[in-house]
């Protein structure tokens, strides 16, 4: 009597297990499908307009061709300056958390705030820098855009710097101190060097994140359809140009927007893959 019952129960449990396994597989396939759809759409719609002129010509009014030279250069400049500002700060904060504030209230607060800023809405960074730099100085500027990107970069660098420094064994630190080296030499010459692949990974991830950000730039560097390298003036950027072009009614602008989207996505994903492969070594 109990044997058929338990056999039925066993079958039901097995069936339930199989159904849920199948659902999990389906969930994963859904995720992968979306990624594939995004990448294929970008290739399909971005490749046709991808030519040399995209890199050699500046943006032009609809119907007269043009390229994406000034957005590309603008993005490189703003991301570059943002990285130059954000990396040393992030590195120092991460070092502070890992080497000076492992068990301090202040350190806990800094760690907490940095982690929250890591996920905070990026559009608010734009509004903040607008209030901080654009309103007082009376205009949108490439420098304000770079500062906004720096604020995006800092928490990413903080997190990865602290994590990679914490992976180092304390015996390493003790060995350096036992040799009579001052602590700052221990950190800069030994710890940073030992953790450099992790720190570099974080830096690449931070750059990739900043390069694709649109919302913080809308209110800071604004965008510029003309060629301009002046940091005190509005500066073009690839994401903002994509935003403006994709929302326009002109076929050639939309085509260029797709090409820009293709460039930025594959650039950003390439940086991500590079960063991760660096960490594996």
């Amino acid at each position: 009597m109990s044997a058929p019952l338990s056999a039925a129960l066993h079958r039901r449990r097995r069936r339930k297990d199989a159904v849920i396994r199948a659902l999990c597989l389906a969930a994963t396939l859904i995720g992968l499908f979306f990624l594939a759809s995004i990448l294929l759409t970008l290739l399909w719609r971005g490749l046709p307009a991808l030519s040399g002129t995209v890199f050699t010509q500046v943006t032009k009014p609809p119907g007269s061709g043009g390229g994406l030279l000034n957005p590309i250069v603008g993005s490189l400049i703003q991301t570059g300056i943002g990285t130059l500002i954000g990396t040393p700060l992030g590195l120092l904060v991460g070092t502070y958390l890992a080497e000076y504030a492992r068990a301090s209230r202040l350190g806990d607060a800094v760690r907490f705030v940095s982690d929250v800023l890591l996920s905070a809405p990026s559009i608010l960074v734009g509004l903040f820098v607008y209030q901080l730099l654009v309103v007082p100085f009376g205009g949108f500027s490439g420098l304000a855009g770079a500062v906004a990107l720096a604020i995006i970069i800092i928490p990413v660098v903080v997190r990865t710097t602290e994590d990679s420094l914490r992976l180092l064994p304390d015996t390493l630190r003790e060995a350096v101190i036992a040799l009579g080296a001052p602590k700052w030499k221990m950190v800069t010459l030994v710890c940073w060097r030992a953790a450099r692949s992790g720190i570099l990974t974080g830096l690449l991830l931070a750059v990739a994140r900043a390069a694709g950000e649109t919302a913080p730039l809308l209110f800071t560097s604004l965008g510029n359809l003309n060629w301009s390298l002046d940091l005190a003036q509005p500066m073009s950027s690839l994401p903002v140009t994509i935003y403006n072009y994709a929302g326009s009614a002109f076929e050639d602008w939309i085509a260029l927007a797709w090409t820009g989207a293709l460039l930025i996505t594959f650039g950003v994903l390439g940086l991500n893959i590079l960063a991760r492969s660096l960490l594996r070594k």
């Binding site: 849920i20 994963t28 000076y100 935003y243």
Partner: protein, 323 residues
């Protein structure tokens, strides 16, 4: 060894030691200052957003939170519609994303063959790296037509016929609207939730799982009764992280939400979110105008909201971070 130490341990040069001390002090100061800078940054963000929004808060008072007006001509502004849109899209995004994220985390920790785990995990993580503007374009040019042509009509013909639930799925299938925005948001927060869940599932001590398997439990039963209870705090924390990210997402939502300042009973209706309203209305707000102040006030509200959610998430994930 002690002999070597004794012979080579010449007294350090006083000048060098002084330089070391000075260097130590300077470096420690720089690190501390950088740490304090992060706190100052947070304080400055809160202060500047609040100061910018103060004229609007003063003009409209508490009614700003509930008022559904957004009338630039009459200069009457309220946060009601965008708060509603923000909450609906973000919560709906979680409803869609959490089960899928759970499935992915389950597959990556228990089901997938070991050589496949890394590439699949990496592909899912790449979803998080795709810039938000790309989700917006892709959503607008790919998902919106599919929603308008296939999914929304199908929903109207099935769920739309039901008595109560049906009111959520009424109206013309334009393809844009709150539901589409929630779908795009779900795809965007999916990798973050899945990553937290995967790490939490992987942190369950194998002995616990093995003992359940040893009792004859199926894989699902092990996950349901051993892994999930063990990891539940992290699962909630990961969900809150997804919520925090969904609340403030801007570019993708702006493309697909329809951008209308009204509360529509149907999820197919156009709406807006705080972030999309700020992005869209900002170019038409003059410096120093009341409208700009209202946008900054909205920004302050959004910051307060996402800070709260992210703080809870961080607090929940905290013990696991240390382990």
């Amino acid at each position: 060894m002690s002999q070597a130490a004794a012979t080579s341990a010449a007294p350090p040069l006083p000048a060098r030691r002084r330089a070391g001390k000075a260097g130590d002090a300077a470096f420690a100061l720089a690190c501390h200052a950088a740490g304090v800078f992060v706190l100052v940054l947070l304080g400055a963000i809160i202060a500047l957003l609040f100061a910018g929004g103060w004229p609007a808060f003063r003009a409209f008072g508490l009614a700003f939170l509930t008022s559904t007006d957004w009338d630039p001509v009459q200069e009457v502004f309220g946060a009601g519609v965008s708060l509603y849109g923000t909450a609906v899209t973000a919560v709906l995004a979680l409803v869609l994303a959490v089960p899928v994220a759970f499935g992915i985390a389950f597959l990556l920790t228990e089901l997938a063959p070991a050589p496949l785990r890394r590439p699949i995990g990496m592909a899912i993580e790449l979803l998080a790296a795709v810039p938000s503007i790309i989700y917006g374009m892709w959503g607008f040019f790919v998902i919106v037509p599919v929603m308008a042509g296939t999914i929304q009509p199908a929903i109207i013909d099935t769920i739309g016929e039901l008595p109560v639930l049906g009111t959520l799925f009424q109206g013309p299938p334009f393809g844009t609207g709150l539901l589409t925005a929630a779908l795009i948001l779900a795809i965007m927060v999916l990798p973050f939730i899945a990553a937290v869940m995967r790490d939490a599932f992987a942190a369950v001590p194998p002995v616990y799982k093995e003992s359940a398997y040893g009792l004859g439990a199926t894989t699902w039963e092990v996950v349901r009764h051993v892994v999930l209870p063990y990891a539940r705090v992290s699962v909630v924390g990961g969900t809150m992280l997804g919520l925090g990210r969904a609340l403030g997402e801007t570019m993708a939502v702006t493309f697909v939400v329809g951008n209308a300042n009204r509360i529509s009973p149907s999820l197919f209706g156009a709406g807006n979110t705080i972030a999309s309203l700020i992005a869209l209305e900002f170019p038409e707000s003059g410096m120093g105008s009341l409208k700009l102040s209202a946008l900054l006030a909205l920004g302050f509200l959004l910051f307060a909201l996402s800070f709260l959610v992210l703080a809870i998430s961080r607090w929940l994930l905290r013990p696991r971070l240390k382990g």
